[in-house]
Symmetry: C2
Subunit: 383 residues, 2 copies
């Protein structure tokens, strides 16, 4: 018998069987009436999930494509931007800005920490030329959640500045009410809390953002948000051929999310994250982002003298479990267990149990069972 495979990486994530089944239905043409109905349902479901009255675009690309479009559709060549650089994905905002001739001013936050909103207020005060603030809702590389609500309160005061949020591992994980908080551009991706395979990206734009779109002069073609919105509203179609099978799956996963309701979905992520953190502490491990952890993924420091990549490797090769290691400067220092996708309490019990065995194998002094016990204590409260 083949070994069972377990996936607890921060994307791709496990996909519910019902969604997999929907994606394996025979392909419908994207202009056939049956698909037009699907896209209509999906548009409604996305507005619900993003908590917005505006359209949410569905793009055939990874999340990075929608991040690129967030820069190229709103800004002009030579513009100045402010980038919160607190991990690999913050770096990506700066790279995209630079690639398209936008000058990023970077707030470099030590990895594992959230940005202090005061720093953003100071920079905006100092540099009235800043046209957009780029940030992550959840910095997947460090497991940090940034204080988006507070940042939005600050940026809102500047009528010539947008707040652009990479919420790829934020939307559907924790509460990010786009309209209520006044987030101008919000990007997400299918392979996270949407419980889908990678291949779809999402983006929504506020009225303020749309006024920037009108003036933007950076070249774009495939990621042209104005044309996408127009086509969606006018014809209920995407501008280019949509990823039909993934969108069939999206309808199912959005229905599952709607059935549960946002509150219950957010609570599930909280519970799985809390249990993982408690287990780590019970095993004598330190959290990498103790002050502002994201419920998308828990980053845990490798024990002193142990290469974090070894933990990932043993879990992979011996236990057939995929978690994530650290990236760039965190490589070897941390390992990351994700809470997104089709996961429930027993996936956390499973991975903590495997972690105990792995630490023991690496000669780390752990009291076996203490991690599982700590996780179970939290998980059973909601059973």
């Amino acid at each position: 018998m083949q070994r069972k495979y377990y996936l607890l990486a921060p994307g791709p994530v496990p996909v519910p069987p019902k969604v997999l089944a929907a994606m394996s239905e025979p392909i419908i043409h994207h202009r056939a009436p049956a698909f037009v109905k699907v896209l209509e349902e999906v548009r409604g479901g996305l507005k619900f999930l993003f908590q917005t009255k505006n359209e949410v675009l569905v793009l055939a690309s990874s999340g990075t494509g929608a991040m690129e479009g967030a820069v190229t559709n709103t800004l002009c060549k030579g513009d100045t931007s402010l980038v919160v650089r607190a991990g690999k994905f913050g770096e990506r905002w700066a790279e995209i800005c630079e690639a398209y001739g936008v000058k990023p001013i970077c707030i470099d936050v030590p990895w594992g920490h959230a940005v202090d909103p005061k720093l953003i207020a100071q920079e905006l005060e100092k540099n009235p030329s800043i046209r957009a603030v780029f940030i992550q809702a959840s910095e997947t590389s460090t497991g940090v959640m940034h204080p988006i609500r507070e940042v939005a309160e600050i940026v809102k005061k500047y009528e010539n500045t947008l707040l652009v949020v990479d919420a790829i591992s934020g939307i559907g994980v924790f509460d990010l009410p786009v309209d209520k908080w006044g987030l101008d551009v919000v990007v997400s991706g299918s392979q996270k809390a949407f419980m889908l395979p990678p291949g779809l990206a999402f983006v929504t734009l506020s009225d303020k953002a749309m006024s920037f779109v009108e003036k933007s002069d950076i070249p774009k073609y495939y990621f042209n948000y104005k044309k996408e919105i127009k086509k969606l509203v006018k014809d209920n179609e995407t501008n280019f051929t949509p990823a039909v099978s993934l969108i069939m799956g999206l309808r199912e996963s959005l229905n599952m999310i709607k059935e549960d309701g946002l509150e219950k979905v957010f609570k599930r992520h909280t519970r799985l994250a809390d249990a993982t953190r408690a287990a780590a502490k019970a095993l004598g491990l330190e959290l990498y982002a103790p002050d502002s952890p994201s419920n998308a993924v828990t980053a845990i420091k490798a024990p002193a003298g142990i290469d974090g990549q070894k933990i990932v490797k043993i879990l992979r090769d011996k236990h057939n479990i995929t978690i994530a290691g650290g990236q760039s400067e965190a490589k070897g220092k941390i390992f990351r267990i994700a809470h997104m996708g089709y996961l429930d309490a027993y996936d956390i019990i499973m991975v903590v149990s495997a972690l105990e065995m792995t630490l023991k194998e690496l000669g780390v002094s752990v009291e076996m069972g203490q991690g599982v016990k700590a996780a179970a204590e939290i998980l059973e409260k909601e059973m």
Copy 2:
């Protein structure tokens, strides 16, 4: 019982059940050893299908994304290009060039006709500043096949000029030996002869094209071919999160194509196209592209006085069959029956039979059964 649904549009196309099943397997992480093996197999399969020794990139996007990248990765701002504009997708090359500051000189070919290679030779002679010739192998909007081999012979003489081929509905449909003919950049997409859902794009670049890539100064980030190639060769990974489930399907469909062999696959498209054309003629209909028809899709003129869109609509609403109508200037004048995807002889019998009923309903004088008879005569030869 729900009506059976039939799809004969030039993308999306029907997907083989085996491929649908592969895409509904539980998601594997893109860096898990099992997926690394899949990507390795896929790289080999794509080289086989494109008939090239070079890498074929797998991008998460529709084909248009890879077309955009073909412009932005090879050219410089202010460059001049030559675009064969013989339909909607030729227009797209010109639009992309313009969006990125490349000046297209356009050869406007009347819709329904292939370009005369002499015109390309003349333009290249006249304008030594032309850095790239953009063309379609198969212009899906008109059902025309362009003489790529002859065009390649001409462009080859110019060491400072690339030949860039949109083979989205070409690769896997008919013979396009990339290396043998010296095609510099060749783009394709999953929802055509690859027998997959939309969502993946492919591109391969010759050594000559790579020397252009080194000098290119047009901004790009998501579609960065140099970085993609580097990552693929070095780590057997894509630069950004790949569309895992579609790539699982791609492995299956490539295996199916390999099992048959290219010759047999090309013959199938020829046979289905020949049968469709014979049926049209037997029903007194005229072909839209009689001189250089593409085996990807057959474009047929609507009978005098009949709106082609009506034929499409009746097939859709009464017969639950999706074919395609005409686009832009061909709208209402033609309808298009495709030959790509998981189709065999009896799909053509089916659609021709439905076409006969539809024409009769529209008051067109047709001898019922003559279309099916003509198609069957061709199809039975290969049974």
